[in-house]
Symmetry: C2
Subunit: 573 residues, 2 copies
Amino acid sequence: MELERLIAVAAGHRPADLVLRGGRIVNVFSHEVYEADVAIAGDRIAAVGGPFHAAATVDCRGLILCPGFFDAHVHIESSMLSVPEFARTVVAHGTTAVAADPHEIANVMGAEGIRYILRTSKYAPIHVYVMLSSCVPASRWESAGAELGAVDLLPFLSDPWVLGLAEMMNYPGVVSGDPDVLAKLKVVVDRVIDGHAPGLSGPALQAYAAAGVRSDHECVTADEANERLRAGMRVMIREGSVARNLEALVGLVNPANADQFMFCTDDKHVDDLLREGHIDYVIRRAIRLGMDPLLAIRLATINPARYYGLRRRGAIAPGYQATLVALDDLESIRPRKVWNDGKLVAEDGVCVSDQTAYLAARPIVLRGSINTHWLELSHFAIPAPASDHARVHVIEVVDDQVFTRRRIEPAAVREGQLVADPDRDLVKLAVIERHSASGRVGLGFVSGLGLRRGAVASTVAHDAHNLIVAGVNDADMLAAAVHLIKIRGGLSVVEGGKVLADVSLPIGGLMSDQPAETVSRKLQEVGAAAASLGCPLQRPFMSMSFLSLSVIGSLKLTDQGLSPPRLRRDDTG
Amino acid sequence: MELERLIAVAAGHRPADLVLRGGRIVNVFSHEVYEADVAIAGDRIAAVGGPFHAAATVDCRGLILCPGFFDAHVHIESSMLSVPEFARTVVAHGTTAVAADPHEIANVMGAEGIRYILRTSKYAPIHVYVMLSSCVPASRWESAGAELGAVDLLPFLSDPWVLGLAEMMNYPGVVSGDPDVLAKLKVVVDRVIDGHAPGLSGPALQAYAAAGVRSDHECVTADEANERLRAGMRVMIREGSVARNLEALVGLVNPANADQFMFCTDDKHVDDLLREGHIDYVIRRAIRLGMDPLLAIRLATINPARYYGLRRRGAIAPGYQATLVALDDLESIRPRKVWNDGKLVAEDGVCVSDQTAYLAARPIVLRGSINTHWLELSHFAIPAPASDHARVHVIEVVDDQVFTRRRIEPAAVREGQLVADPDRDLVKLAVIERHSASGRVGLGFVSGLGLRRGAVASTVAHDAHNLIVAGVNDADMLAAAVHLIKIRGGLSVVEGGKVLADVSLPIGGLMSDQPAETVSRKLQEVGAAAASLGCPLQRPFMSMSFLSLSVIGSLKLTDQGLSPPRLRRDDTG
């Protein structure tokens, strides 16, 4: 939008391209709601007030206009959708911007993955800002597909859509002054650095804040949030698919400190996005929990814009981006119309933008990410030790949690091999390195998946996203894994050598190239198939995806073996 | 401060350089006051909480610690002090940062003047940020010493102390889309653009805001301020020597909109700085007018820091600049100790920093700025017209106001010349171009100065700062002007060819190289001398400095003649 025309439209010397007439606007600066027309020129708001001359008019009488919603921290990969498809889904709920951390795809494909996110974002009907993934790989106990040092991140800083450094999960590295970690903080000097420090407190938290980390989305108690607030860190109140912290934190927000808070989803699955919504859901719920609606809207609009230094975002005011949501009222937070860059992009819960169609017609193809050694049955075998009383470490799944428990159980032995024992809910687990065809396979046992037959496999396995397979027999495990290799990654359920259900995730083995509704349906199918094998879990693949997350939990399994590594003793095979 | 040491101190792995112990801190994020120790490493705050180990400790029991104060918009030249001396004066009042617009010296010396401000700022015990003067010259009806276009401003943007474009006074130029004005807005894209738009309203204000102007310090009514607030512009509440808007605006600020407000002084004279104080005075007065003390402190600390995008300023929190003020209490706002960059710089109202002494020993010398044609008596002569009933336009001074009134009076004629008539308070006025020795002299008459004898002269004459002289006879006018040429600019009072008093302002003809106390005393002397000649005004030189400000007032005089120019008719000589 050229400045000359913007000014001329605002001054009334030229007609606006579009006028939103008769609505009541939410003013995030004056903290008011009042009736005003909004004049739009190109992708910007020219003036607020009116009446205005315009080429086109939209009747907004009876509607509340507020700035488009902003998710302050999200891993788009967790939706299992491509960026344009994620955008199509959330824009229908009023989201017009996200600060995305491409941590998952970066762990699979490094800088190539981040570039892919940036490129496909250009075809999304929302603004996708990128925060550079700070912890690739997430730990040295797992084998990721890439390693991103400070110098690998540096070139991205010249991209206008890149805002800073994403959640610095390696808080021990920050506090201890690890040179490689500090190098990453130094290259983003004067940009935003997001935090991730569950439970960090006292001097260590002070050191983390002193290092320049200015937010945290991992607060689960008001005390944690309050300590961060006092230390000058913004609190991102997270309400995702699993981690839901709004209820615990909502009482902390008041008019005098509200500018320190934002909303984010972090990880939200496609089915939850379709069913509940996105940031609109968080606002709605915050209001129901007692938050002033105007404060709630500020947490979702101007606050993240200011935090990220985006001077033209998050408000309905002259010169700001023409990015607005029309709501029925300030209770239901139901988006009736959504405009981005001055164009109508969603209406009555449906995306009406043709930007994603453009990409569908001219796809940006990413290379395949599944690169395993040739797999054979022998990869899954665990020879039994000589002792008659062998015992094994068992990872115990805790439903809907990232962490796990650890048990020691007598081993089940058959023909000189340690095997699964479904009667005791003891299932074999394998993590197959899938990035460099090393042939490395970590083997162990898991309880809590409840499988009585067959096998389940996934290429979504935090944070290195190797190929994880759980099963009661090696043949089905092999078949489930091989099927994923064939479909370029995804989820599979196998019984008796037959694929019962699958979800293809060809983008990094993490994201689908299909519409949200299709992905959601396919996810229900694999869930039902896993249940048919005996699995009692609500989200079996999500639970499985955390079994290799080596940084959290009492016992995990990676391609390098059990983690923490001190547990890799002979009696585990 | 290297990041490694900062983190180590915060984490408690190394001792702090300095600990402020036992004070109660003002937390601008959580909007609280509570007891906490502050650990400082180098020029940064490492941690807040404690107890901390430290090389040195300051007992702050009984004191309130808050972030150093920030003047959001000031012309340092108006104090008539050099930058280090201004800094020495205001730091004693708790000011540790200013956003300075070097508009006056830029009108005299252009880019050279701005560079001089930036260079001398390095020796100030406060942080002097510079906003680039947007209107040099201020109008085409006066002859400034320089012209600054967009390309002249551009190189300054690479200086880390330069934050953006200073008050865009040419709001008609913005609203009408003047290409030269828009070019200046375009070169500072994504930086801060300050406004100055007294009385602007409606579509024109929308256009001004749409152009990217994000503040205004010219609000004198709550309505004006409210319109700017709604348009997304920050309101800088001004409380200077003459313009005092706090009382009119204070009621507008509440916890939900407070982040849109700041404090500034704009123009404050040395005597007022010494007597009243600086931003401490504004905070104190705001509290007395009913503002919540914590909000008032936020307006003076974190709010301008955030507005200007200074991520490490304006708060007592880990990683922030170690820039603090210790107050007796939250009513008197009396600064007892002031630290800047981790060093004690003022104590009990006295600057204790040696940084200004460093500059005094190694002065940065600016070339002389008084460059007039050789002056003779004939320059002051106004031949009377042939008519027996000649009449003259007379500028009428309004005490303590920038604007003037316009009168038409019968001329006093002697020996074929138009002359002063003290009995009717009719005094001759001359504005002598002093930048390019053009020999251009504008002549006219003024009433309200009350001179009965002699002449007064000044090189401070907004905005071109030509040499202005008022007097009852040409000989004294010549003598007063010549004296200023000899002393490289300043203020002078002459009677019977003899200099009664003067103030030397060798820096651009605007600023003294002497200590504040000396300048203040000398100003009292010239004031008393002017009074001895009959002048009844409180601030005669300030009133005279506005007589050539061509953009405001019914009648002004510049080196080019009367302004507005349509009044330059024969009957004025």
